[in-house]
Amino acid sequence: MTATFWQRLDKAGRNLAPFAVTVMLVLIGLIPIPVPAYTPVAPQLTLISVYYWTIHRPDLMRPGVAFLLGLLQDLLIGGPLGVNALMLVVAQWAVLNQRRVFLASTFALLWIGFAMVMAGAVFLEWLAFSALSATMLPVKPALFQGLLTVAMFPAVGWLLIRMHRAFLNA
């Protein structure tokens, strides 16, 4: 009886891994790095994580989870509430719809797929911020942020694969 309880607890803990890893990435994204002009283009690590887990473990990266993560990010970044939540929920939904394609594809295709998701996210973020401030904001910083995130994708992806194997394929 106790064994099953501990097993259950262990399983629950392991199932929390995608969420916990993404929360860590939210926090890592906030670290001050004293490089000129870095902060505006700091990569969107959370989007990579949501993308990865939606493809590999959609049962653990539900829309609600994506929403919560986005909300947390909004609260910590200090921007208008709901922008990142919207972005992650839409990304999660888009990826989930095309999941079969992504699952069967190679890493290069995954990367291209992520670039497309990122492009959509950049556009959405820009649109939301422009609408909220009622002006046309320059799209360039967001575009560079997107490019940097796409460039970071293999590194973060590798890390996520390691996490995935360590916690969920035991």
Binding site: G29, T39, L76, G78, L81, A85, E125
Partner: protein, 263 residues
């Protein structure tokens, strides 16, 4: 469903900004210890790299600093002379003394990586005496102002954020203007008269209008003046602020009392 929830949240955030602010302050408070812990290794790494570069340039730097020191000593003499003169003139005129100034020094623990938001989170909050609206200074000049205060952390809106507005005055022409951020590295001056003589290199300081900041805080330097607008580069390097001073000037209206501005 959740898409609508997000959009609804944006609306709520627009309308109910006070309660959203306090919720945000709570969450930031909760994560402040973790952010503090993980920002330290990053700061250390940055310092190690920086010191390596500094060792390489030590000789040149020493030469430059000696020259600068000689120049500053002359300025010091001038400042001392002016200070005594100023003091004696003040006693003649019975000027009311300026409100006392107190500083709170805080460490920057988070700089949100976002293309559309320019804020910092620092390790000082209500229990340290931080209040909403206080000016944040770093080394060479104004950085921004406190927009949200938690128990032991607070958030500073940088000058370059699109929502930042600071009443300023051009130092030599005494021309008033409002410094507005637009999420780029430089801020622009609003409400300048069209024919006002603005020169590149002119210093910009706070004007003290609105009662939020005291007059005369250094803000930045004009970098370009054309028909398309006047750009100002902040004195403080906003991308590498490590510590900043939150300044309580004891002025009336620092609690963002909007009514006070219209009196």
């Amino acid at each position: 469903m959740l898409v609508f929830a997000s959009i609804a949240l944006m609306m709520v955030g627009k309308i109910e900004s006070v309660s959203v602010d306090s919720a945000r302050a709570r969450v930031t408070d909760a994560f402040a210890p973790i952010l503090d812990a993980i920002s330290r290794p990053a700061a250390t790494a940055a310092r190690v790299i920086e010191s390596a570069v500094e060792v390489e340039n030590a000789f040149d730097e020493n030469q430059r600093l000696k020259a600068e020191n000689a120049r500053l000593l002359q300025w010091k003499q001038a400042a001392l002379r002016l200070e005594t003169e100023n003091a004696s003139l003040r006693t003649l005129l019975r000027v009311t003394p300026e409100p006392s100034v107190s500083f709170i020094t805080a460490r920057v623990i988070a700089t949100p990586g976002s293309s559309f938001v320019r804020t910092l989170v620092v390790t000082a909050g209500r229990r340290d005496g931080v209040r909403k609206g206080q000016a944040a200074l770093a080394g060479a000049g104004l950085v921004g102002r406190v927009i949200e205060v938690g128990e032991w952390s607070s958030r500073v809106l940088l000058l370059t954020d699109i929502n930042a507005r600071v009443p300023v005055v051009l130092e030599s022409s005494r021309q008033r203007a409002v410094l507005a951020g637009d999420n780029s590295d430089q801020a622009k001056l609003l409400y300048l008269p069209p024919e006002s003589p603005v020169q590149v290199g002119e210093r910009v300081v706070t004007s003290g209008h609105g009662g939020l900041f005291p007059p005369g805080l250094p803000v930045g330097v004009v970098t370009s003046a054309s028909e398309r607008g006047v750009r100002v580069l902040p004195n403080a390097d906003l991308s590498r602020v490590e510590h900043l001073r939150l300044v309580d000037f004891g002025l009336p209206g620092t609690e963002l009392d909007l009514a006070a501005e219209w009196k």
